[in-house]
Each structure stands twice: as C-alpha cells, then as structure tokens.
Amino acid sequence: MKRVPLQWILAAGLFILALAAPVLLKDQQYWLFIATQAYFWAMLASSWALLAGYAGQFSFGHIAFMAIASYASGILGRDLGWSPVSGVVAGTLVAGVVGLVIGYLCLRLRRTYLALFTIAFAEIFRLVVNAEIDLTGGPLGLYMDYLLDTTSYIPYYYLMLGLLLASLAFMYWLASSRFGLFFRSIREDEVAAAAMGVHIVRYKILAFVVTSMIAGLAGAVDHHFIGFIAPSELIIGRMSLVIAMAVIGGIESLIGAALGAIFIHFSLEWLQQIPVPASMMPKLIAMQPMLEKIGLGVGERGIMTYAWRMVAFGLLLMLTLRFWRNGLIHPIIDRLFRQRVRKETVAKRVQAAEVASPTTFGGTEGR
C-alpha cells in the first residue's frame, strides 16, 4: 500500500480546516470576522511577494493600490449609484491603470529609489484622500454599500477564501510560467535580462499591473464587507505590516507570504488581550498600576498589550531579516514539498564530485 505523504495530509488538513471554519466558529462570529480579514491580508501579502520577491520591485505603494480600488468603488456607488459588484470590477481596473502608470514611472528606479518613490506616492495619495473631503469623506471616512444582502459573516468568509485561493492559483501559474522566469531574471539583473532578449519594460509594468489589481480586488471586496474606509488605513504602518507578513512568511513564496499574513493577523488579534486563568485575575488587577506604567493594561480576561504587540512583530521582522532571509514559513513548506528533489540534487552533486576530482586538475599540461 502506498502511503500518502505527510505534506499532502497537512495541506489537505489546512484546506478542510479553512472550509469547516464557519461550522467550528459557529458561536464565535468575531473570530470568523478575523479569519475573513486574515484572508484579505493574505491577498495583499502574497501579491506583494510576487511584486517584491519575484519581480524585485520593492514597492511601498501596495496599500495605496488597495485603497484606490476601494475608494473608486465607494465613490462610484455613492455618486453614480453603481452596484458594489460593478464597483469592485471598476475599482480593480482603476487600480490596474494606476499600477500601470506607477510601474511606468518607476521603470528607471531601482531598489532604494523605487522604495522612496512609492512611499512618496502612497503618502501623497493618503494626504489627498484626507484633504478632498467632498470626494472621499476626508478623515471621517467613506461609507460603502454592503456587497452581499446578508448580515451573516459566513458568505463573506467563503467569498474571501475563494478570492484568496483563486488569486494564489493565478499567481502561482504566473510565477511558474515564462512570466515568473522573466520576473526573476529582471530581479536578478536587468542588464543581463535585456541582453538575453527579455522585454524588461513590459514585464516590470506587468508585475505592477497584476499585483495592483489583486490588491485592489482584495481591498474593494473587503471594504464592501466592512462598509467603511478611512485614510487612517493608509498609514505607512499598515504597509509595513504587509511587508512584515510577506517577509516573515517568505518573500519569495506566494503561499509562504499568505500563510505568514494569516498567522500574523490572528496573532495580532490574539495578542490584543493575552488571556490568563481566572484564578490569576485578582493578582493581575493588583498589578494594574505597574503594568500601565510600562504601557500594558488589564482587560476582562487578561493582559492588554496595546502597542507592544506591534513591537513584538517589529522585533520578529528584524530577526527574520537578519537570520532567516527566506522567512519562517517558506523553509518549512520547502522542506516538506521539495525534500525529494533536494536528495536527488545532493546525490548528483556527490556523483559529479567523484567523477570530477581525479580529472579537474589533470588537464593542464601543454599550457
């Protein structure tokens, strides 16, 4: 009998868990909401991983593209009466068009300069949204129609899960096709890629357009679910969160970045209030003044962490960058799914070394 490999059991388990979550979380609608948001972040982080990890375009504009689609859809709905569905489609297209323009403007910018340029773009966009009160609602935000005619979280949950899986499948296909090959060659060396016949302008812009549209789609759908968007969502810290998710998951792995986002989003929610056993609560309450001095607090069920949870992830990000450049989740996936390939390669290397060693330095006579 052939044994089903462990990695596929794990993958199938995760998938079934995701499908069954609404049943498992029947009495915990809050966590179902968090899961839906986690998928939204997973779409952002994985599409950013495609742009930055594969194509090497380290952009800080990803949140802005997400918001461009959301605002476009919201404004079309409010002023022109467009339905949320057509708004989502239009918003996604608008994000793609802006992605094309930004991609074009960034053609000659590399690394640091690209990062600075996209930070400037994102900040200008946020300031404009803040200032154009008539159009965007300004700092008070913009109310958006609900996408689905329901008060239940369950349809949204499946919708977001479906969009995440579909976008991952699409990006996976893209990354493993010729496009991925060209993206990575551009990331590695634009000059050499061009000398090998790669139309770098086309593929760089394509990377921006595709990833902007996925971010836009995620944003528009998510904000038609929440029913509201405000410029406070566009602050640079939120972009940093996307980057942290992708880096901790694995910047060169779409699945790794998606899982990283889900893991971090859940952790951040959970860390808001670290539960303690009920018997410990009185002690905790007694410690409250001291805890408040160091920026912590006491909630109903445990320790409130406030900003400290962000600090924790900031540290995790720094440690990941310093010690685990491939991320924390990607190496696990890689280990589970590529082990066979690696063994083969190692065997070949050993064989090659054995063949090569007696002759490598033998062929020098006559020179």
């Binding site: 090959l181 060209f182 060659s185 590695e188 000059v191 050499a192 139309h199 083969e344 070949k348 020179r367």
Partner: protein, 262 residues
C-alpha cells in the same frame, strides 16, 4: 550570410570621446579579436553594438537592418549576443532556469519543457550538466562564465561578443572555453573576443581589431597587425604616459612570439 556593418560610430560621454569614428564590417563566421589598451573604448563599442548605448552618431547595420538605437532586447533577438566583463548570471535562479530565460524570450509561444532537452545538451557541451538544478550563485566564477556562454547558445545569435572570457579562469576551464569558441564558430557564428590575454587572442582569432582612443588603428591578420608600428606605439607608449597598466607591454610581444612561433 551574417552581415554586420559599423559605420562611423561616435560615442561621447560629456566631454569624453569614447568612440571616435569606428568603422568595420563582419562577413560570415569571422573570428575577431578586439584588443586595445585600457580605456580604448572596447566595452563602449560592445555596449553600442548590443544596444545598451545609443551612438552619438553613426550607424550599425545587422543583416540588412539598421539596429543602432534599438533597445538591447530587440538587438538580442535580432542576433547579437554578449557576455559581460563581470559575469552577470541570474544568481538566485537555477542553472537550467538561467538557460530557459533567453529561450522563452525568443519563442513566445513555446513552453519551458520544450527547451529542457536543448538546455541539457548545452550544459553537457559546457561540462556543467551536473549543476543544472543548482542556484547559479553556488557556482564558481569560472562555471558562471560557462553559464553565460550557455545562455548565449540558447539565445542563438549570429554574432557573439565575449568580453574578457579568459579573465581569472582556471586553465582547464580555459580549454573548455577555447573548444566552445572553435566549435560554435565552426557552426557558423561570428565572434568578437575582447581580451587582454594575448596568448589566447593570437591563438584563436583570424582577424584582429586594435582600438585606441576610440579609433580603430589596425584591422587585419594577427601576424600583420603585430608588426604595425601604430599598434606597438599604442601598447608601448601607454606605459610611459599613464604609469601602471594592467598588461605589461612586454606581454604583448611575448604573446605574439608564442602565438606565431609555437
């Protein structure tokens, strides 16, 4: 037949005149050595030929089509391929993927697996087939040079420009590169080889172009070029004017002697 015509090409950077009216032609599978002191304009000429630079004036014609000013990827697809003085492998891609990039760029409707076999043949020819699934960054410097040569075979250009193919290369690898040049040349490709390794240049090339101060000061059979007073002046004169040089002037004469006598 392969036809390349470089007509009166000038290239200046600000006040510096890097190319000063360069004219030459290639007909068929010539094997050309391009030499000249440091700063003579060899790499600039390469960059003009492959589209990295647009010439300030002058024209480049390839197989009846004007190509100067076209972007590098267009020129690569039309038939000029090159390696770089400092190797530019796609380091965080496998050796096989490195080879697939030009193949896929050239054949927009093909699938990657259509070229696996060809890629493995190329790697076998270059004696690095056992490294197919390794990341390019884990290869030695010499092996990365071979990888660049392999990418060129996948691009399949008419004219191959090799910028310092022998610099820092182990003698055994050098032989592989020699074989590559001779074999691929036999198959009908033209070569322009830029090198400071006079032994190799004189052994391999059938025609020598000497560049100095952005001008071609000699063009012809290696044996004749060797005796050209202008060439000797360019190499011998440099040491006095500019102090330390990378190739000792004596090396040229030595290389010529060896190449011609032995």
């Amino acid at each position: 037949m392969i036809e390349l015509d470089v007509r009166d090409v000038y290239k200046s950077f600000g006040g510096i005149q890097a190319l000063n009216g360069v004219t030459f032609s290639i007909r068929g599978n010539e094997l050309i050595g391009l030499i000249g002191p440091n700063g003579a304009g060899k790499t600039t000429l390469t960059n003009v030929l492959d589209g990295v630079y647009k010439p300030t004036s002058g024209e480049v014609w390839l197989n009846g089509e004007r190509v100067d000013g076209l972007p590098p990827y267009q020129i690569a697809r039309r038939g000029i391929g090159r390696t770089f003085q400092v190797t530019r492998a796609f380091r965080r891609m496998t050796v096989l993927e490195n080879l697939l990039v030009p193949a896929m760029a050239l054949h927009p409707t093909a699938r990657k697996r259509d070229f696996h076999e060809r890629a493995m043949e190329v790697l076998e020819f270059l004696t690095i087939e056992h490294l197919a699934n390794e990341y390019a960054r884990s290869l030695s410097g010499g092996q990365q040079k071979l990888l660049e040569l392999g990418r060129l075979l996948m691009l399949d250009p008419d004219i191959i420009i090799l910028d310092e193919p022998f610099a820092g290369v182990h003698p055994k690898l050098m032989e592989t590169i020699y074989e590559y040049i001779i074999e691929v040349n036999k198959q009908g490709k033209a070569f322009i080889i830029i090198s400071h390794d006079m032994d190799s240049i004189f052994t391999l090339s059938r025609r020598l172009l000497v560049l100095n101060y952005g001008e071609i000061i000699a063009d012809g059979e290696p044996a004749k070029v060797k005796e050209d007073p202008a060439v000797i002046e360019a190499y011998l004169g440099e040491e006095e004017e500019e102090g330390p040089v990378v190739i000792p002037a004596g090396r040229l004469a030595e290389g010529m002697e060896e190449a011609i006598n032995g």
